[in-house]
């Protein structure tokens, strides 16, 4: 892999009407290349009434996600998200492949690089390295098999130099640090 390629991590979270998002693009060593975040969005009472149940989807999928994707300057080869609801819009608007990655407690697969389908559609287990349990991958509906294979290969390559899910923790730490800095 060229050393200027990267993996993008995107997270949008919040509750009680306070939602914010952040993305981090890292190289295969986990070194940050681009980091963008939004302030908290707090819809007014009137907006909550008018948007109703669609408010959460609108804020997360259209407003915050699109704003983050528009702002990013270093395009990754693969987007990794932690929210199922972001998969499809990320695949449609992110211009590159998107996958939801989470740790699993499954027994290790035979070899590093092994990929195993599950009974759930678009859900796979990937043995990304030899020192952890397989990763659970979820792809958006309609993802082609060659895209799945390419994504898995990229994750295996990155797992040789970094921990795949670790950047999510760093994003949270950075956001907490920024919030405390703002408050202070």
């Amino acid at each position: 892999m060229a050393n200027n390629s990267g993996i993008g991590y995107i997270t949008i979270d919040g509750n009680e009407g306070l939602i914010r998002g952040a993305l981090l693009v890292v190289d295969v060593r986990g070194i940050p290349l681009d980091f963008r975040y939004t302030d908290y969005i707090k819809p007014t009472k009137l907006e909550r009434i008018l948007y109703g149940n669609a408010l959460d989807t609108y804020l997360k999928q259209e407003l915050i996600l699109q704003s983050l994707l528009d702002a990013v300057e270093v395009e990754p080869q693969l987007w990794i998200c932690s929210d199922m609801n972001l998969l499809t819009p990320l695949k449609e608007n992110g211009h590159v492949k998107a996958v939801l990655v989470s740790a699993s407690t499954r027994q290790p697969l035979e070899n590093v690089g092994s990929i195993e389908s599950t009974s759930e559609p678009n859900v796979f287990y990937l043995q990304a390295d030899g020192v952890s349990a397989p990763l659970r991958l979820v792809f958006a509906a309609g993802t082609r098999s060659d895209e799945i294979q390419n994504s898995a290969a990229l994750l295996v390559e990155a797992a040789g130099t970094m921990e795949i899910t670790e950047p999510f923790t760093r994003i949270q730490k950075a956001l907490a640090s920024l919030a405390s800095g703002t408050e202070g």
């Binding site: 070194i31 939004t38 969005i41 009137l46 952890s132 760093r170 730490k173």
Partner: protein, 195 residues
């Protein structure tokens, strides 16, 4: 009557007798005793007011209060009110609710570069073991780590994790693992070994 009087006089003085008369006293009928009961009718003192239609109503002149046929005098009732005026001119503005504005993401790459990466102890998964001297044991393995790019390593003793600060300008990519070994002697310090 005179004869009777003469007879009584003679009898009383001559024979020393007087007529004793008996009269049977009989009460033919007792007086009728009647209980004096009065029937009291209670009527609610409540006016029935019916609203027949919604229209401007002059309460002062048209309101009528009746209880069991008794009509109150208008002067006894104090009714406040007046004509209900219908709005003919509305005083408000129509305001447009703006769509929630798009957010402008901030760039804080400098901030996140200072935050270290964190590696968990994966000794239970690591099959390789470094050569250890007798009386020495491996207690942790952290990896993968790009050794040549490392600026600083710190062991988080509470969490058992390794914090890694990389030099972001480094162009090195080859990785190694870091074992933490310790001699089974009192007072011995843990020892790091790159493998």
């Amino acid at each position: 009557m005179a004869f009777e009087q003469v007879k009584n006089f003679v009898s009383r003085h001559v024979s020393r007798r007087i007529d004793v008369r008996f009269h049977d006293v009989q009460i033919s009928s007792f007086p009728e005793i009647k209980t004096k009961r009065e029937k009291i009718s209670v009527y609610p003192l409540k006016a029935k007011t019916q609203v027949q239609t919604i229209k401007p109503l002059d309460f002062k002149t048209e309101l009528e209060c009746k209880v069991q046929g008794f009509k109150f005098e208008q002067g006894l009732l104090k009714v406040r009110g007046g004509f209900i005026k219908l709005f003919t001119k509305y005083d408000f503005k129509i305001r447009k609710v703006e769509k929630i504005k798009p957010v402008r993401p901030k760039n804080s790459l400098r901030q996140i570069i200072t935050i270290p990466q964190e590696r968990m102890n994966r000794i239970k998964w690591q099959k390789l073991r470094p050569r250890v001297a007798p009386g020495e044991m491996v207690i942790a393995w952290y990896g993968p780590i790009v050794e040549s790019a490392v600026l600083k390593l710190v062991l988080n003793k509470q969490a058992g994790t390794l914090l890694i600060w990389y030099d972001s300008r480094s162009r090195k990519f080859s990785t190694r693992g870091l074992f933490l070994c310790r001699k089974l002697e009192s007072g011995s310090r843990p020892e790091w070994r790159w493998v």
